[in-house]
C-alpha cells in the first residue's frame, strides 16, 4: 500500500497538523470526565432549522464521552500512524482530509442530541467511508467494495431516516434527551413497531450484522489505518451506538430482545468461524470485528446490569485491542509486504515494539488475565447467564465464539512473531516510532486498565451504564478476580477450547472451507446490482423506445384517457346542444371544412394535401367571417396562404407522399377519436352553461372613452393586452432567427 519506505516524518505538517487537532480534541474531552463521572451531562443547543424544529444540539453523557474519547484518542494515534504509513503517497492530502473529516463526523454523531443532526453526521461518516474504501480507486475491487458499503449502509440509513422522522413525530421532538426523558412511553405509540424496525435496519446495516455483514470484510480494501479506525474501532460501532443511545426508551419489548439477541449471536458465531477461516491477517481481524459487533448487539438486547456493564467494558476493550492489532498488521505489511499468515514468521526480534504491542493486545483479545479483555469476557458471560431466555444456549454460543477468537488472536498476534515453526520473513522496511506508538499505547492501555479496572469503573463504565439504563446503581464491579463463579468456569473452558482450536487451526481452517459453500451474500450482491441494471434497461427500453410514434401515441392516449376518465368519474353538467339556428349555409360551410379535413387525412398526393389544407384554412376563415370576426378572418387567410406556401416549398424537396403507404391504423383511430370526442364533449358541456361576459363588457365600455379605439379587438391587442402582443412579436422574430439557423446549416451541421 505504501508508496515508499515509511519515515517518521511522513508528510510533515500535513500529517502532524491533523494529529495535533485530534490530540487537542482528546484532551478537551478528558476535561469532561469529572462532570460525566459525577453522573451529570453537559449540553449545548442553538436553533438550526426552526421551521422543522431541528436544533444543533449536542450533549455529553457517559455513553457519548466514552465514544468521543475512543474516537479522538484512537484518531490521534491513527493519524500519526497514517502519516508515516502513507509516506510518499501523492494523494495523502486527500486521504488526511477524508480521515480527519471522518473523525469530526463521527464525533458529531456521538455527541448529537438531535435525531436529525445525528443522521446528518451518520451520513457524513458514510460518505467519508466511501471515499476511504475507494482510496485505491484504480482497482476495480476497491471501487466495487466502496460502492457496496455505501449502498448497503446508505439503504439502512434511509430506513433510519424514516424511523427518525416517525420517532420525532411520535415523541413530539427530535431532541434525543427529551425523547429519552419520556421513558418507555414511546412503546405505546401505534407506530412504535415500525419505528423500531426502521431504526434496526439503520443500525444493523451500519454495524454489519448478519445478514448485512458482508460489506465489512470488503471494506478492508481501504488502507490499514482506515480499517483500524473506521471499520473496527469507530464507524461500525455507530449502529451499536444508536441502539445504545435509544436503549432506555426502546428496549424491553420482545421485538427488541429477540431481534438483537438472535442477530447478535448468529453474527458472533458465524464471524468467529469465518475469522479462523481467513489466511489474510487483515481479513481475519475484520471477521473478529464482526464477532465483537455481534457480541455488543447481543448485549444491548438485554436489560440486566451485568449485560450493560459488560457492554460498556467490552466496547472499550475491543476498540483498544482491535485498533492496536490492525495497526500491528499494518506494520507487518509495511515491513514485509505481505499479510498472509503462512508467509509470516520470526519477526519478534526484528520488530520488537510491534511484537510487544501485538502480544499485549492479542492477550487482551484472547481474554486472558490480567488484561482488560478478561474482565470484559467475564462480564459478558455474566450478562449472558442473566438473559431472559435460553441463557444456556447463549452461553454456549458465546463460549464457542470466544474460543475461536482466542485461536485467531494467537494466529494474528503471536505466531508471526514467536512461532518456531514459521519461516523467517525477510524485512524490507523499518518501522518508524510513529507507527509503533499507536499499537503500543493502545495495547499498554488495555493492560493498565486490566490491572487497575478502577480507573474505568467510575469514570466511564458507570456513566455509560447510567446512559443505558438511567440508573447508575445497575453498574457491576469490574474485577479481575470476581470469585469462583460460573463465569470463571466459562473463562477456563474458553482457554481450553481456544487452545485446542489454535493447536488444530490448520485442520480447522481446511474444514471451514465448507462454509464457502453456504449461500454467498457477497456474490448475491453482485447479482442484485446486475439485476437492477438489467431491470432498468428492460423497463426503460419499453418506455423510452426511441420511436416517436410510440411517444405520440402515449401522449395522446394520456390526453384521451385523462379526459374521458375524468368525465366518467366526476361527471359533466347536462348537455343541451341546440341545432335550431343551423342554416343550410352553415351546413355547407361545415361540409367544406370536413371534406378538406377528410381529404388531408387520407390523401396520398402532395397536391391534394396542400389543396385540402387550403380548404380547411378557408373554411375556418369563413367561420370567423360568419360570426363577426373580420380581423381574425383576414389574419387567418394571410397566415393560411403562408402556411400552404411553406408546406408546398418544403414538400417539393421531400420524397413523394405516395411512396409512403397510409394504411388504416385502427389503434391510432381509436386514440384520435378519444381525443377529438372528449374535446367535443367538454366544449358542448361548456356551451350549455352561460358565459360571464364582464371582461368584454368592460372592453366595450372602455375601448373608446379610455383607450381611444373603435375596433375593440384591436384595442385589446394593442392596449388592454399589449403584453401578449409583445410576446407574440418576440415569437415570430425568434422563429425567424431559429429557422434561418436551421436553413444555413449544411449536411454536416456546420453553418
Amino acid at each position: 500500500m505504501a508508496a515508499a519506505a515509511p519515515t517518521s516524518r511522513g508528510h510533515g505538517l500535513l500529517g502532524y497538523g491533523p494529529t495535533a487537532l485530534a490530540l487537542a480534541l482528546f484532551i478537551w474531552f478528558l476535561g469532561f470526565l469529572p462532570v460525566v463521572s459525577a453522573g451529570q451531562a453537559a449540553s449545548w443547543a442553538v436553533p438550526w432549522i426552526p421551521v422543522l424544529g431541528i436544533d444543533l444540539a449536542f450533549r455529553i453523557d457517559g455513553l457519548s464521552l466514552t465514544f468521543a474519547l475512543l474516537i479522538s484518542g484512537i484518531g490521534t494515534l491513527v493519524l500519526l500512524y497514517a502519516n508515516s504509513y502513507l509516506t510518499g503517497d501523492p494523494q495523502f492530502d486527500r486521504f488526511v482530509l477524508f480521515l480527519t473529516s471522518f473523525m469530526l463526523a463521527m464525533l458529531g454523531l456521538v455527541l448529537a442530541d438531535d435525531l436529525i443532526v445525528l443522521f446528518v453526521f451518520w451520513e457524513l461518516t458514510t460518505i467519508t467511508s466511501y471515499l476511504l474504501i475507494g482510496y485505491g480507486h484504480d482497482s476495480e475491487k476497491s471501487r466495487r467494495n466502496a460502492l457496496q458499503a455505501l449502498f448497503l449502509t446508505g439503504a439502512g440509513a434511509l430506513a433510519f431516516l424514516a424511523g427518525a422522522i416517525l420517532l420525532g413525530e411520535a415523541a413530539g421532538t427530535y431532541r434525543i434527551s427529551e425523547v429519552l426523558a419520556q421513558g418507555k412511553a414511546i412503546q405505546d405509540h401505534p407506530h412504535f413497531t415500525a419505528i423500531l424496525i426502521l431504526v434496526f435496519l439503520g443500525a444493523l446495516t451500519k454495524s454489519a450484522q448478519v445478514p448485512f455483514h458482508f460489506w465489512l470484510p470488503n471494506a478492508m480494501a481501504a488502507p490499514t489505518p482506515v480499517s483500524a479506525f473506521l471499520h473496527s474501532a469507530t464507524m461500525v460501532k455507530a449502529g451499536v451506538y444508536l441502539l445504545a443511545r435509544l436503549h432506555p426508551a426502546m428496549s424491553g419489548g420482545d421485538l427488541w430482545l429477540y431481534t438483537l439477541t438472535i442477530l447478535g449471536v448468529v453474527t458472533a458465531v458465524f464471524a468467529s468461524l469465518l475469522a479462523l477461516r481467513q489466511t489474510d491477517l487483515k481479513q481475519a481481524l475484520a471477521y473478529t470485528t464482526l464477532m465483537a459487533l455481534g457480541t455488543l448487539v447481543m448485549l444491548l438486547g438485554q436489560d440486566s446490569g451485568y449485560a450493560m456493564t459488560a457492554f460498556a467494558t467490552f466496547l472499550i476493550v475491543h476498540s483498544l485491542y482491535k485498533a492496536a492489532l490492525f495497526l500491528v498488521v499494518g506494520n507487518l505489511d509495511a515491513a514485509t509486504g505481505t499479510r498472509e499468515t503462512d508467509a509470516l514468521g520470526g519477526l519478534g526480534r526484528v520488530l520488537p515494539m510491534t511484537a510487544l504491542a501485538a502480544a499485549l493486545a492479542g492477550m487482551s483479545m484472547a481474554g486472558l488475565p490480567p488484561f482488560l479483555g478478561f474482565i470484559g469476557k467475564e462480564l459478558t458471560y455474566a450478562g449472558m447467564l442473566q438473559v431472559a431466555s435460553f441463557p444456556v444456549i447463549l452461553s454456549i454460543m458465546a463460549l464457542l465464539a470466544n474460543g475461536l477468537i482466542l485461536a485467531v488472536a494467537s494466529v494474528v498476534a503471536i505466531r508471526p512473531f514467536w512461532s518456531a515453526r514459521q519461516p523467517k520473513t525477510p524485512v524490507k522496511n523499518a518501522i518508524p516510532w510513529t507507527m509503533a506508538a499507536g499499537p503500543v499505547v493502545l495495547a499498554v492501555l488495555g493492560t493498565i486498565f486490566g490491572i487497575m479496572p478502577g480507573l474505568l469503573q467510575n469514570t466511564l463504565v458507570a456513566p455509560t451504564v447510567l446512559s443505558l439504563t438511567g440508573d447508575i446503581a445497575e453498574t457491576k464491579q469490574l474485577k479481575l478476580w470476581a470469585g469462583v463463579n460460573l463465569p470463571l468456569f466459562l473463562s477456563l473452558a474458553t482457554f481450553v477450547l481456544g487452545g485446542l482450536f489454535y493447536a488444530w487451526h490448520a485442520t480447522l481452517r481446511a474444514r471451514l472451507a465448507m462454509l464457502d459453500r453456504l449461500p454467498n451474500l457477497d456474490e448475491a450482491w453482485d447479482r442484485f446490482m446486475a439485476s437492477i441494471k438489467t431491470f432498468a434497461i428492460a423497463l426503460t427500453s419499453r418506455i423510452q423506445t426511441g420511436r416517436m410514434t410510440d411517444y405520440m401515441a402515449v401522449t395522446f392516449s394520456t390526453i384521451a384517457i385523462g379526459l374521458i376518465a375524468t368525465v366518467l368519474l366526476r361527471g359533466l353538467p347536462p348537455l343541451s346542444p341546440s341545432f335550431a339556428d343551423v342554416t343550410p349555409i352553415h351546413l355547407a360551410l361545415i361540409g367544406l371544412l370536413l371534406s378538406g379535413t377528410f381529404m388531408a387525412t387520407i390523401t396520398r398526393k402532395r397536391i391534394a394535401a396542400i389543396a385540402a389544407l387550403g380548404v380547411v384554412g378557408i373554411g375556418v376563415a369563413l367561420v370567423f367571417i360568419f360570426f363577426s370576426a373580420p380581423d381574425v378572418a383576414i389574419t387567418q387567410l394571410l397566415v393560411e396562404v403562408l402556411v400552404v406556401v411553406l408546406v408546398a416549398i418544403v414538400m417539393l424537396q421531400l420524397p413523394r407522399l405516395r411512396d409512403y403507404p397510409n394504411r388504416f391504423r385502427p389503434g391510432h383511430a381509436v386514440i384520435a377519436a378519444g381525443v377529438g370526442g372528449s374535446v367535443t364533449l367538454v366544449l358542448l358541456a361548456i356551451l350549455s352553461t352561460p358565459l360571464d361576459r364582464r371582461l368584454t363588457t368592460f372592453f366595450e365600455t372602455a375601448s373608446w372613452p379610455e383607450a381611444f379605439g373603435r375596433n375593440i379587438v384591436n384595442v385589446i391587442l394593442v392596449d388592454f393586452r399589449a403584453l401578449d402582443t409583445f410576446g407574440e412579436v418576440a415569437v415570430v422574430v425568434v422563429a425567424a432567427i431559429a429557422s434561418i439557423a436551421l436553413l444555413r446549416q449544411n449536411r454536416k451541421g456546420r453553418s
Binding site: 438550526w48 426552526p50 421551521v51 422543522l52 443522521f119 451520513e123 458514510t126 480507486h137 471501487r143 460502492l147 455505501l150 449502498f151 434511509l158 431516516l161 424514516a162 422522522i165 413525530e169 441494471k533 432498468a536 423497463l539 426503460t540 427500453s541 418506455i543 423510452q544 416517436m548 411517444y551 402515449v554 401522449t555 394520456t558 385523462g562 379526459l563 375524468t566 366526476r570 361527471g571 353538467p573 367538454v682 366544449l683 352553461t689 358565459l691 361576459r693 364582464r694 371582461l695 372602455a702 388592454f720 393586452r721 403584453l723 401578449d724 410576446g727 415569437v731 425568434v734 422563429a735 432567427i737 431559429a738 434561418i740 439557423a741 436551421l742 446549416q745 451541421g749 456546420r750 453553418s751
Partner: protein, 499 residues
C-alpha cells in the same frame, strides 16, 4: 413600483436585441454576461421588495385587473426569478468558453436571452393567456437553441422535442379556451374566485387537461419522452439551462394552477398527481440506471426529481408545499450545475460516455470536488441542499401516513445514489481508458475560468443552502403558506393600484 416587476422581463429582451446586433463580435457574449448580471440585480430587488410586501402586483398598461394583464410576484415567483437570473448569469459566463463562433453568429446569445425572458414572463405573469404567450416565447427560443450546431442527433432530438412540446402547447391553448368559456376570465387571481361558481365535474375535466399540458412541460410520467430524447444533444450551456429551468416552469405552472385555481377537488386531482409523482420518480430513476452517458443519466434524473416536487404539490399540506418550493430551488441549482460539469468533463476528458473517459479524480481533483457536491446533493446526502429537500418531502408524506409514497421516495433516493456513484466511479475514479490524465491545467486560463467559475459558484450555493437551511426553509414556509392560502395573492392582484 411596477418597474420592479417589469425589469426582469425587459432586461433580457434588451440584452437579446443588443447581443443580436453584436453577434458577429465578441461584444455580443459580454453583453449577454452584463445583461445577466443586471438581471440578477433586478430580480434581487424584486425579491427584497416582495419579501417586504408579501405580494407585488403591477397592472400592465394601467388597466385594472382582471381586464388588463397583471404581472405579479409572490414569494415563489420572486424566488424563481432570482434563481432564473442566477442560472442565466452562470450559464452566460460558461458560454464564453462553450459556445463557438458559428453558434454565436447564428444568434445564440439572442436566443438564450429570449429564453430567459420567456421563463421570467412565465414566473411573473398573473394572466393565464399571457402565461401561454411566455410558454411560446420560451419554446421557440428553446427550439432555436436546441438545434444550434446542427449535428444529426440534435436534429433528431429536436424533432421529438418540437413535436411533443407543440402538442402540449396546443392542449394548453385549448384548455385556456375551455376555461374562459366556463368562467369568462383569464386573470389567475380572478379565476380563483370565478371557478367557485363553475360546475365542479366540468372543472375537474378542464383541470386534467391542464395537468396533461403542464405535465408534458414538466416531464412527468408518461409524458416525459421528449426530454431524454433531446437533452443530451445540444451545447452543454444549452442543456444546462434547459435542465435547470424549462421543466421547472412546467412544475411552477402546475403548482400555481393547482393551488390557486384547481383546488376544488383535491381528493381527485391531487390523488392523480400523487400517483404520477410516484411513477415519475421511479421510472425516471430506473431510466437513469439504464444509461451510460453522463448527460443521459442526468436527463433521466431530471424526470425522477420532478416527481419529488410534484409529490410535494400532490400532498398539499403546508409542509409538503414547503418541500416542493425548497426542492425547486435546490434542484435548479444542482441540475444546471451537473450539466455544466458534464461539459467540463467532456472538454478535458474527451467525452461524456462513461466507458470512454476516466481519471478525473486523480488529475482534476478540483473538478472532482465540484462534481461531488452537486452529485451527492442530488442523491440527497446531508448536509447538502438535496438532503433537506428530500427530508421535507418524505416527512410530509409520513405525516399523512403515506407509507408507500414515502418508501418510494426513499428507495428512489437510493437509486439516485446508484447513478451518481456510477458517474463518480467511472468518470472520476477509474483510470482513463486511453491512459491520459485529463486536467484542468490543459485549458487556457480564460477558458478555464469561464468554465469553472460558474460551476464553483453554483456548488457553493448548494453547500450554503445545505449548511444554513434555516433561512431558506423559513422563506419556503412563507411561500408555501401564500400558495395554500392565496388570499393575499388574490387581493393584491385584484386591488393593485393602477398607476
Amino acid at each position: 413600483m411596477s418597474w420592479v416587476l417589469v425589469l426582469p422581463l425587459t432586461i433580457p429582451f434588451v440584452t437579446a436585441i443588443f447581443a443580436f446586433l453584436f453577434r458577429e463580435q465578441s461584444a455580443g457574449r459580454w453583453i449577454s454576461v452584463a445583461g445577466s448580471a443586471a438581471l440578477v440585480a433586478a430580480s434581487l430587488v424584486l425579491l427584497v421588495q416582495t419579501i417586504d410586501a408579501g405580494v407585488l402586483a403591477a397592472q400592465m398598461g394601467s388597466w385594472a385587473a382582471p381586464f388588463g394583464v397583471t404581472l405579479v410576484a409572490d414569494l415563489l415567483s420572486a424566488a424563481m426569478a432570482v434563481i432564473t437570473a442566477i442560472i442565466a448569469l452562470a450559464v452566460s459566463v460558461y458560454a464564453l468558453a462553450d459556445i463557438d463562433a458559428d453558434a454565436e453568429r447564428a444568434g445564440y446569445h439572442a436566443l438564450f436571452n429570449v429564453l430567459i425572458a420567456g421563463v421570467m414572463g412565465a414566473f411573473l405573469t398573473g394572466d393565464l393567456f399571457n402565461l401561454y404567450v411566455w410558454f411560446e416565447v420560451m419554446l421557440i427560443a428553446s427550439f432555436g437553441l436546441l438545434i444550434l450546431g446542427g449535428k444529426p442527433e440534435q436534429i433528431d432530438g429536436g424533432v421529438k422535442y418540437v413535436a411533443l412540446n407543440l402538442i402540449s402547447t396546443i392542449l394548453f391553448l385549448t384548455g385556456i379556451g375551455l376555461l374562459y368559456g366556463m368562467t369568462g376570465t383569464l386573470n389567475m387571481a380572478d379565476l380563483a374566485g370565478a371557478v367557485e361558481s363553475a360546475d365542479p365535474g366540468l372543472l375537474s375535466v378542464v383541470a386534467v387537461a391542464f395537468m396533461v399540458a403542464f405535465g408534458v412541460k414538466a416531464a412527468l410520467f408518461p409524458l416525459f419522452f421528449w426530454l431524454p430524447a433531446s437533452y443530451h444533444t445540444p451545447h452543454f450551456a444549452v442543456s444546462a439551462v434547459f435542465a435547470g429551468l424549462l421543466t421547472k416552469v412546467g412544475v411552477y405552472a402546475l403548482i400555481r394552477m393547482f393551488t390557486l385555481v384547481f383546488d376544488h377537488d383535491i381528493g381527485f386531482t391531487h390523488e392523480i398527481l400523487l400517483w404520477i409523482a410516484g411513477l415519475t420518480m421511479a421510472i425516471g430513476v430506473l431510466g437513469a440506471a439504464a444509461q451510460n452517458d453522463i448527460r443521459k443519466i442526468l436527463s433521466f434524473h431530471i424526470v425522477s426529481q420532478i416527481g419529488y416536487m410534484v409529490l410535494g404539490l400532490a400532498l398539499m399540506t403546508p409542509l409538503a408545499l414547503v418541500g416542493a418550493v425548497f426542492y425547486l430551488i435546490h434542484h435548479i441549482i444542482v441540475k444546471a450545475n451537473l450539466f455544466l460539469i458534464a461539459g467540463v468533463a467532456d472538454r478535458i476528458a474527451g467525452d461524456t460516455d462513461l466507458s470512454r473517459i476516466g481519471g478525473l479524480y486523480k488529475s482534476a481533483p478540483f473538478l472532482a470536488v465540484l462534481f461531488f457536491i452537486p452529485a451527492f446533493s442530488l442523491a440527497g446526502f446531508p448536509p447538502l441542499s438535496g438532503f433537506w429537500a428530500k427530508f421535507i418531502v418524505v416527512k410530509a408524506a409520513l405525516d399523512v401516513q403515506g407509507w408507500v409514497i414515502a418508501a418510494v421516495a426513499l428507495v428512489v433516493g437510493l437509486l439516485t445514489i446508484y447513478s451518481m456513484t456510477k458517474i463518480w466511479a467511472e468518470a472520476f475514479w477509474t483510470p482513463h481508458p486511453d491512459g491520459v490524465d485529463p486536467s484542468l491545467a490543459t485549458l487556457a486560463p480564460a477558458t478555464r475560468n469561464a468554465l469553472v467559475l460558474p460551476v464553483a459558484g453554483l456548488a457553493l450555493m448548494t453547500v450554503v443552502i445545505g449548511l444554513v437551511p434555516g433561512g431558506f426553509m423559513s422563506f419556503a414556509e412563507t411561500a408555501a403558506n401564500q400558495l395554500l392560502v392565496p388570499d393575499a395573492y388574490i387581493s393584491t392582484v385584484l386591488e393593485a393600484r393602477v398607476e
